[in-house]
């Protein structure tokens, strides 16, 4: 392979990115060296096993990926803003819609949600960390290795270009030669290992590490939705593992799982992909539902309406999510009976989802609603998501689906589900839990700019897509003729995407502004909230709780506050056991990344040599009997006095 095949050449946009990436890397390394921060980075972040720091790293990575995926989106909008434009050629457009989809789902939505779960869940159940802190760090670093490997593709070797769904036979070696789709198969596999580990970690954490008295039906609803989401992760991700394994074997070793020739079956890929892919939609949306529930209850100053029905609705959605995958390909040769069954199961999902919508509305009814930024996101979510849901029911009807299958109508539908359902939730959660992470609030005024720009921009961008879709525009078309009459709609949509981008810029500015100027004096419970994470200091100390709280009822902290029982007795303090930092997760994940890179280029000897690194990392990990350390009572007392004043 010659050097100009290795680096992607011939496109000024990509050349500019290559230079920008190179300069940024050099700049970052120089800056960290200049500030003498390497040791600090290694000790405080790279080797940390603290769930809060891991969560913050997930969120940071998610914001970066949001930027990358967003730029992809803007490029697509620019290309289709007028008929017959030539900003991107067909090949480049294919690459960009592929990376946009993969990045937004797997490397933006997932880490954002998992990051917030990491920060909040142990605090919310009164635990000191997750069940397996080292495994948690491993989850993050494998996700990060996978994400970085995937992002490398567009400058080294070439992007994947067969869509985020990578349907066969198109995604096979025959029709997509080159290394682009190898990146897809390998990097998703590496990131998937981490996600599966996260699922197991949170199931055990929530089952085994709840504070005394915190029984199942007293769990905050966000904890419930994380628990059920984790179960779906464990049930669905192994399917992706196998699907990607088959894809890798087909592309790298010439097998015939999904080929048309020699007895392969391309439909097998579609089934496996969506057997994972549909539950994946709920993996990202259920935690988001939990976040909205917390925010809406807090800012309505009421307990959540219909708590039990909320729990059953989440469980019901999770169950049904496994039974609907065929609705992604009604038009691909199923019998009418099969389509009818999947049509029914799909429409049934609207029932528990409807229950949740009404529960949120009834929670607000007669509440004293406070229009904080977090609450605004939750309020905007309800109508926007309902549009997404109702158009989803339209798509669920198999006979009607033949009319708009794979049109822009579908694209508009899933953006109306995923952006209000996930992105709004992440924004609400960031504003809501920010003080718990950093000890200060994000600015509410800039937050309102962020909110209005993003929500208006979102509707401007995606509403027109429903209409061009119904008018027959297929998804993934890189250009269109003037005679179609779509120019005005899509031009308007492109303007909307710029407004949305301005909203994102407002968020970034808000983070910068708040880091520099926001008041550090917000107290432990700035929103007058209901759940346990607000019972400890902001930012939460590394041991979370000096004394693990005793829980009596749902929203226990809320009632304890009313009775003035949130103080800490000095005699209750005992030494706290904490896990030690570890270098194995980051080194192991780096080894996975290197092996992955060699596999992408089919350099098998190098891949085998590099996998020795994985073996050594695993052995080192197995022989590591470090049992952590204890924080002495004096230190706890000192830290607790800092924010509580005197102890009882």
């Amino acid at each position: 392979m010659s050097l100009d095949e290795f680096f992607v050449t011939g496109d000024p946009l990509i050349l500019a990115s290559q230079i920008a990436i190179g300069l940024t890397m050099i700049g970052l390394i120089a800056l960290i060296t200049y500030l003498k921060r390497w040791k600090w980075l290694w000790n405080e972040w790279f080797t940390t096993v603290d769930h809060k720091k891991i969560g913050i790293m997930y969120i940071l990575a998610g914001v970066l990926m949001f930027f990358r995926g967003g730029v992809d989106g803007l490029l697509m909008k620019a290309q289709t803003s007028r008929p017959e434009l030539d900003i991107l050629n067909a090949q480049h457009y294919d690459e960009i819609f592929t990376t946009h989809g993969v990045i937004m789902i797997l490397f933006m939505a997932m880490p954002m949600l998992i990051g917030i779960m990491n920060v909040v869940i142990p605090l919310q159940i009164g635990a000191r960390d997750v069940a397996f802190p080292k495994l948690n760090a491993f989850s993050f670093w494998t996700f990060f290795a996978g994400a970085m490997l995937f992002n490398l593709s567009f400058v080294i070797g070439g992007s994947p270009d067969a869509g985020w769904t990578s349907y066969f036979p198109l995604a096979g070696k025959e029709f997509t030669p080159g290394v682009g789709n190898n990146y897809y198969a390998v990097s998703l596999q590496i990131a998937g290992i981490g996600t599966l580990a996260t699922g197991i970690n949170f199931i055990v954490t929530i089952m085994k590490m709840r504070a005394p008295g915190l029984s199942w039906m007293k769990l905050p609803i966000f904890t419930w939705s994380t628990f059920i989401t984790s179960i779906i992760i464990v049930a669905a991700f192994p399917i992706l593992t196998i699907a990607l394994l088959f894809m890798t074997l087909d592309r790298l070793f010439g097998t015939h799982f999904f080929t048309v020739a020699a007895g392969g079956d391309p439909m097998l890929w579609l089934n496996l992909f969506w057997l994972w892919g549909h539950p994946e939609v709920y993996i990202v949306v259920l935690p988001a539902f939990g976040m909205f529930s917390e925010v809406i209850a807090t800012f309505s100053r009421k307990n959540l309406y219909g708590y039990k029905s909320m729990v059953f609705a989440v469980a019901g959605i999770a169950f049904l999510s496994m039974l609907v995958w065929v609705h992604h390909f009604y038009t691909m040769g199923n019998s009418a009976a099969v389509n009818s069954i999947f049509s029914l199961t799909t429409m049934m999902i609207a029932i528990p989802t409807g229950v949740k919508i009404f529960n949120w509305l009834f929670t607000m009814r007669k509440g004293r609603i406070e229009f904080s930024t977090a609450m605004l996101w939750s309020l905007a979510f309800i109508p926007c998501f309902t549009i997404g849901g109702v158009t989803g029911v339209m798509l669920a009807m198999a006979a009607a689906d033949y009319q708009y299958h794979n049109t822009m109508f579908l694209v508009a539908h899933f953006h109306y589900v995923l952006i209000p359902g996930v992105v709004f939730a992440v924004f609400a959660a960031l504003y809501y839990w920010w003080p718990k992470m950093f000890g200060f609030k994000l600015n509410e005024k800039i937050g309102k700019w962020h909110f209005w720009l993003f929500v208006i921009g979102f509707n401007m961008t995606f509403m027109p897509m429903f209409f061009v879709g119904l008018d027959g525009m297929s998804r993934r078309m890189y250009t269109y003729a003037e005679s179609t009459g779509w120019g005005a709609w899509l031009g308007f949509s492109a303007v909307g995407s710029l407004v949305m981008a301005a909203g994102f810029a407002a968020l970034c500015y808000n983070i910068y502004w708040s880091f520099r100027y926001a008041s550090r004096n917000v107290g432990s419970d700035p929103w007058n909230a209901r759940t346990l994470e607000w019972a400890t200091a902001s930012p939460a100390p590394h041991y979370n709780f000096a004394v693990v709280p005793q829980v009596e009822q749902l929203d226990d902290f809320w009632y304890k506050k009313k009775k003035g029982e949130t103080g800490l007795k000095k005699k209750d303090l005992k030494p706290v056991h904490m896990p030690s930092n570890s270098w194995t997760p980051i080194v192991l994940a780096a080894a996975f990344g290197v092996v992955g890179f060699f596999l992408v280029f089919e350099w098998f000897t190098l891949a085998i040599v590099a996998s020795i690194g994985i073996v050594i990392g695993l052995i080192a990990n197995s022989f590591d009997y470090d049992d952590g350390y204890h924080i002495p009572v004096e230190e706890l007392e000192k830290e607790e006095r800092e924010w509580r004043g005197d102890l009882q």
């Binding site: 397996f132 799982f257 097998l268």
Partner: protein, 198 residues
Amino acid sequence: MTSHTTPLEYQSKQTQMNILGFWIFLGAEIVLFSTLFASYFVLEHNTASGPAGQDIFILKDVLIQTFILLTSSFTSGLAIHSMRNQDKRGLLIWMIVTLLLGAGFLYMEINEFIHYVHEGATIQTSGFTAALFTLLGTHGAHVTFGIIWISLLLVQLVRRGITVQTSSKLFIASLYWHFLDVVWIFIFTFVYLKGMVM
């Protein structure tokens, strides 16, 4: 929780959680192998111009493999029984027997693969062979991983003796080993026996 009737491996909160976490991991493994089985059933008859199952399977050898692996599951159970009795020597010996049986199984499986290739059934031949080799290979890779893993645990056992930590690790490894046995029973039934009669 830590009464004398509680087995050693359950005597700390962390090892209890490790064992529960591993059970959940085995749940994920069930999904993984189910996907492999389902894909095998889809591709089973897509032999293209290559051989079918009846043409290449040697049931006698597979039966021997089955007995070897089932026996190894039994001996790993004996090992855990010795562990519960604080019998380090018994634990070590039965685990080594388990590993030797595992290695014997692997040796036969590799020979089986060589035989298939000689019969003109490579992993690239057809949809059927791709699914067959991947299903068997994934199981075989698990056995290989198990042998290396348990060997390392035995080194730790020799160094540290039977403690809460080492016993929980060996207990978890034995769960893994039994699981591979269960998967093999399905492979024997739904790949080999079904392949011979249908």
